[in-house]
């Protein structure tokens, strides 16, 4: 029976790695993938707590997080395709039209 702490620390590490990905990568698709990584780290936390508290609410929450992540990935990718058609690049640095 693995202690709860181990799972929480693991998901914190994966979350931090996801944050690194969002901050430093200059490719929109990799940024979106890092966001998915962060969502999965949170899912792991939910499931670990669900098991340790004996409540199904954690697993139901993960179910909904997965549905929302699917919707978000779909919309995000559609936006990326539209942006690529306009500016022919996936570098967020080049999308600064609103910067003052």
């Amino acid at each position: 029976m693995v202690p709860l702490n181990y799972y929480l620390i693991l998901s914190a590490i994966v979350f931090a790695i996801g944050v690194v990905g969002v901050l430093i990568r200059r490719n929109l698709i990799v940024v979106l993938m890092s966001i998915e990584l962060m969502l999965n780290a949170v899912n792991l936390t939910f499931i670990a707590f669900a098991r340790h508290l004996g409540s199904m609410a954690g697993q139901v929450a993960v179910f909904f997080v997965m549905a929302v992540a699917a919707a978000e990935a779909v919309i995000g990718l559609a936006i990326i395709i539209s942006v690529f058609r306009q500016s022919r690049t996936l570098d967020p640095q080049n999308m600064q039209l609103l910067k003052w």
């Binding site: 709860l4 590490i13 698709i29 098991r51 340790h52 139901v60 919309i75 395709i81 996936l90």
Partner: protein
């Protein structure tokens, strides 16, 4: 250290390596494959945490459908040029994320692992119990989630349509 803990450490190590590969590999397709690996490892962790239904849903939905969508978009857009890393920004970002990790880890270590967690029956996490929760207590979020998915489908179709007069890609 019993077998369960050893297996957990192996899986955790592989998961951290896969996450690092997602963030630090140069070619986008390799990052996508690394993310698929990470998702599969997380699904194995789910199954070991007595959530078989959610684990297999993770494989079916996340690793099996969402990541295929990512791969399709990567193949269509075909980002050729590799991006130029900027050392200063990378260093700053890694330091900030290290701080975030260093902040979160002690915070989360305070949880006393209760020696006997609430005894879960064999049915915990099985499709029956999950379905009862979903259609009993959480039926309203369930319906809202289905509307959300419908909205997402419509939005994606509208966003993906080609405008008249643009020299669309792919």
């Amino acid at each position: 250290m019993n077998a369960a803990t050893a297996i957990f450490f192996v899986l955790a190590g592989l998961l951290v390596i896969a996450s690092l590969m997602v963030v630090f590999l140069r070619r986008v397709v390799h990052c996508a494959i690394a993310l698929v690996t990470a998702l599969l490892l997380i699904a194995i962790l789910f199954i070991s945490l007595q959530a078989p239904m959610v684990g297999v849903l993770q494989v079916m939905v996340y690793a099996g459908a969402i990541m295929v969508l990512f791969l399709f978009v990567i193949m269509f857009l075909n980002p050729g040029a590799l991006e130029q890393p900027s050392i200063a920004w990378w260093g700053l970002a890694v330091i900030l994320s290290g701080l975030l990790g260093a902040f979160l880890v002690p915070l989360l270590s305070h949880y006393e692992a209760s020696d006997n967690p609430v005894t879960s029956t064999e049915l915990f996490g099985s499709p029956d119990v999950l379905a009862k929760s979903l259609f009993g207590e959480f039926v309203l979020p369930f319906e809202i989630a289905s509307v959300l998915l419908l909205v997402a489908i419509i939005g994606a179709v509208v966003l993906g349509k080609r405008e008249h007069g643009s020299d669309g890609a792919a």
